[in-house]
Amino acid sequence: MRAVLAISLFILALPTLILAQSDGHRNDHPREAETVSASGPPIKITINPEARVSVVLSGTLPKPAQCGTATDLPVRIVNQGFVTSRLEAVFVGDVPASVSLEFHQSPLKGVREEFRNLRIILTKPNLVDLTIAFRAHNETPDLGGRDRIHFLMNCIEVH
């Protein structure tokens, strides 16, 4: 009975598996290969064996929070380089003083997968375009600009 159930489940899942495989082969550009999904952490970071950090937006961003309140963006870290230094996040370019970020200060554990939160606080309701770069402490940044993501954010003013 169990075997029949397993086979049935496999047959049901087969189209999904085939589709996932064919999608994987269709696009070879790393940026293009990441499609936005509605679920899962919105930020995916990959640290390659040379400790270079690349990052993509891979999910939906949370809805705007109240101004002055932190918005937590879950981050999935795939660590292929056993890196145990601190992973740092910094704004790139001009960012209004009303925007700040917080990211974990504790070092990475070096394990294959970790989850963390990137916390962003907006104190004014203006729409802002944020570019955030990630790098492992004292490591060389990615050469192709793949270490950064950008997105728009705003907050809801409370009267």
Binding site: L127, D129, H150
Partner: protein, 810 residues
């Protein structure tokens, strides 16, 4: 060739001259819409007040950075003004920015409230290049601040973009007896730079996902097959919010003037008059790079502005004026000339000039850490590039030796090139059919100096189970697969067994980018802070060296203090290993190979496999200096003895005479942008040795890790003799350095036949490092290997403890 300016040799950091763009009658007609019916992009004045400056300029900055990366930057005056406007960031700045950007904009899309797009013509001169790519901005006005997907593409975009109406795999041109008319129309290819992907059904379609900003810019790249005046229909597509395939919401015929391209021949002469390969960066008056980086096929690599061409090889260029920068590694002066290409002048003549030739003193350069796959290399259609491309770059950088290391990304593809021997592939293309497909028609041309550059395929243990402990560079392997392994995951989870296996087959093993994980707060050299050991540099090396299995540390590409500190401490304990130069190309930098180099002293130039073996044995024997190639220790003797020869044996303490012939070359003035040179303080660079704004650099005498004397050297490229005298009271190692540009291997001085025990503090530092490495790295060692690793680390603790006890100096 007609030169409009005499060839000049300029500082590497000098700014490229910008030649002001002149508006021709043709440009004027194009700008004023004589070839199209309009309408043109509307003025922004009415919209500007609705544009929020911060997100507007943030998005534009990204677009402009991408344009520059693609080799199509804004004219420098416009770029400077845009930077100032971005800082200003108000509605006045937005209005002025729009006027500037219009000069680079092919089309303006305006999105209606219902999501329908409309096309208007932008103000950029619609000039394309036959068989080349041009980049334009695409302006999207989105007053409704919608966030759906659109696309914008030419009609004759080509087979890649066509959607088949059936599921059959077949040519999209359909069943026609005469396909000629269809092919004739396919003259233009359009690509949105870094498109978003939208899943429709089971297909991933390229699209522009609107951000919701009222105005945003994207980049569109256009490739023209033909020359002459051509037009094509451009369409804006709207993706229904409810899903399904996009529909044509507007289209417009756009005319172009496609400049004919000409095959231009490089005539390249080395300093000795022979033909050779060199590096060339070709730019037009707007600083656009040729061939465009947007679409390159090996041997031209997209991540570098330069190309490598041999004497007699060609480039396709439309007629016009160009600046041509020529280089061949750091031993040459940078050449810069302006050339005008037309029917009567289809040649670029280059006579390279050296400022130094270390081979005259018997020194031959090599880069022991370059990759043909991974990092900046593309992963499709092949996993990186082949030896034919790598050797072209080695020749063009004047390298005698290039060690091409296969590593985890691309391992199973690249390892096919391992032969266990050095090779010097003939001038050829790795995939000539792709060059033909790209219609570049590059015909490789051999030169008399081709066999002076060698490649050796070996291994970097990176992305392997033991990589956490530091990346090993394995040289001169006979076998590249660890015994009993079939896949990478089978390899040991710590490095010592790998080093044992390397030694058993006569190879050399050492640690790559050795400064990683070794950075501390102190910038003193030496210093005694215990590094975090959280990276992929020297880490396990400090244990391995006590087992006599570590041949070198490899650096010049990371923090120089972090690199040298561990080397100094280990040598103070009496251990001997080389310090060699590497680039880790194209990972730590993709600028070029040979950024970090080792110079090995040989009796004659290395040729063939025996030449490589002599070179790599020279590393093991210590007949070398390393650095950035901007300074050179052409001769270095202690009491008449060179490094790599026998130890200098003295019966008792006394005075040493240290003699060197040393040359360095800085430009007369410091570069304008020193911040770029100093960025992150990683890598070695002679500019950081410059004393103030002078043209001098200090040459330092290093005894047991301490700089005990120094002499100022004028860095004008002329070799100068320098002599030091220093007393010595115990067995020591003596070296010279220009920090951080070059470093000699030490001469070992043995007094009374006693081993070097230069510093108890160094021994204790090493002992503490063993503990720290174990603390940080041992969790990644497999349980099955842990007992052996435990014993090996315990051995190291005992060795350092014993050395500390033997040291006379605290």
């Amino acid at each position: 060739m007609r030169e409009t300016a005499k060839t000049s040799y300029l500082p590497a950091e000098a700014k490229m001259p910008t030649i002001g763009a002149t508006i021709t009658r043709r440009d004027f007609l194009l700008l004023t819409g004589a070839f199209v019916g309009g309408p043109f992009c509307p003025a922004l004045e009415s919209d500007a007040s609705q544009v929020e400056p911060q997100p507007y300029f943030a998005g534009i900055n990204r677009a402009l950075e991408a344009l520059a990366k693609l080799g199509a930057p804004l004219a420098s005056a416009d770029a400077q003004r845009m930077a100032a406007l971005a800082r200003q960031a108000n509605s006045t700045a937005v209005k002025e920015a729009e006027k500037i950007l219009d000069r680079y904009t092919l089309a303006c899309l305006s999105i209606d409230a219902d999501g329908t797009g409309h096309i208007a013509i932008g103000g950029a001169p619609r000039t394309l290049v036959e068989q080349g790519w041009r980049m334009f901005l695409l302006r999207i006005a989105n007053q409704g601040k919608r966030t759906h997907n659109i696309n914008f593409a030419s009609k004759s975009e080509g087979p890649g973009s066509m959607m088949s109406s059936t599921s059959a795999a077949r040519a999209h041109m359909g069943d026609r007896l005469n396909k000629g008319p269809l092919i004739e129309k396919m003259w233009l290819l359009s690509k949105i730079y870094e498109p978003d992907l939208v899943i429709v059904g089971d297909q991933a379609l390229k699209a522009i996902q609107l951000s919701g900003l009222s105005v945003e810019y994207r980049i569109i790249q256009l490739f023209s097959r033909d020359s002459g005046r051509r037009s094509d229909r451009f369409t804006t597509y709207t993706f229904p919010k409810s899903g399904g395939y996009p529909y044509d919401s507007d289209h417009r015929e756009i005319d172009f003037d496609c400049l004919p391209s000409r095959k231009v021949t490089f005539a390249v002469r080395d300093a000795d008059g022979r033909g050779c390969v060199a590096s060339f960066t070709v730019r037009d008056h707007q600083n656009r790079v040729y061939p465009p980086q947007a679409m390159r096929v090996a041997p031209d690599l997209y991540f570098q502005p330069q190309i490598y061409r041999a004497d007699g090889e060609t480039i396709l260029l439309p007629d016009g004026e160009y600046t041509v920068e020529s280089k061949r590694g750091p031993e040459y002066l940078r050449g810069l000339q302006t050339v005008t290409i037309d029917a009567g002048h289809p040649r670029i003549e280059v006579k390279l000039q050296r400022w130094i030739d270390p081979a005259q003193w018997g020194w031959y350069s090599g880069d022991t850490h370059i990759h043909a796959g991974g990092c900046s290399h593309y992963s499709s259609p092949t996993e990186g590039v082949a030896p034919e491309t790598m050797i072209r770059q080695a020749r063009g950088e004047g390298l005698a030796i290039g060690d091409v290391l296969s590593w985890a990304p691309s391992w199973y593809y690249q390892k096919q090139f391992f032969t266990g021997r050095a090779i010097s592939p003939p001038a050829s293309l790795e995939h000539p059919e792709l060059q033909v497909a790209n219609d570049v028609s590059l015909q490789p041309n051999p030169t008399p100096s081709d066999d002076e550059s060698l490649l050796r395929y070996d291994v970097e243990v990176s992305g392997f189970p033991s990589s956490h402990a530091g990346h090993l560079v394995l040289l001169s392997l006979k076998d590249q697969d660890y015994p009993g392994t079939k896949i990478l995951e089978d390899w040991p989870s710590w490095n010592l067994p790998i080093l044992q296996w390397v030694r058993s087959q006569g190879g050399l093993g050492g640690y790559a980018h050795c400064g990683l994980g070794m950075v501390v707060n102190s910038t003193d050299l030496p210093n005694y802070e215990i590094p975090p050991m959280d990276g992929i540099g020297t880490q396990e090396a400090i244990m391995d060296v006590t087992h006599g299995l570590m041949d070198f540390l490899s650096g010049c590409d990371t923090n120089p203090v972090a690199e040298l500190n561990a080397w100094y401490h280990m040598m103070n304990c009496g251990f001997r290993m080389a310090f060699i130069g590497e680039t880790d190309y194209p990972c730590i930098t993709d600028e070029r190979m040979g950024v970090g180099r080792s110079y090995v002293r040989l009796d004659h130039r290395p040729f063939g496999d025996s030449g490589y073996e002599a070179w790599v044995r020279g590393i093991a024997q210590g007949r070398l200096y390393c650095g950035d190639g901007r300074s050179h220790f052409l001769d270095f003797k202690v009491n008449g003895l060179h490094s790599g020869e026998t130890d200098l044996s003295l019966e008792a303490s006394g005075a040493l005479k240290i003699q060197t012939l040393v040359a360095a070359r800085l430009e007369t003035d410091p570069p304008e942008n020193m911040a770029a040179t100093n960025q992150g303080l990683n890598g070695w660079h002679l500019e950081r040795s410059r004393v103030g704004t002078t043209r001098t650099v200090p040459v330092e005498l290093v005894v047991n890790g301490f700089a005990v004397d120094k002499s100022m050297l004028v860095a004008d490229g002329i070799p100068r003799a320098i002599e030091f005298k220093t007393p010595i009271v115990r067995s020591s190692w003596i070296a010279l350095r220009i920090f951080p540009s070059s470093h000699t291997h030490p001469v070992y001085v043995m007094i009374g036949n006693k081993a070097i025990r230069a510093s108890k503090r160094s021994a204790m530092w090493c002992r503490s490092c063993v503990d720290k490495v174990w603390e940080v790295k041992s969790p990644f060692i497999r349980e099955s290997e842990r007992p052996a690793a435990t014993a090996a680390f315990e051995h190291a603790r005992r060795v350092y403890g014993a050395i500390a006890d033997e040291c006379e100096v605290a």
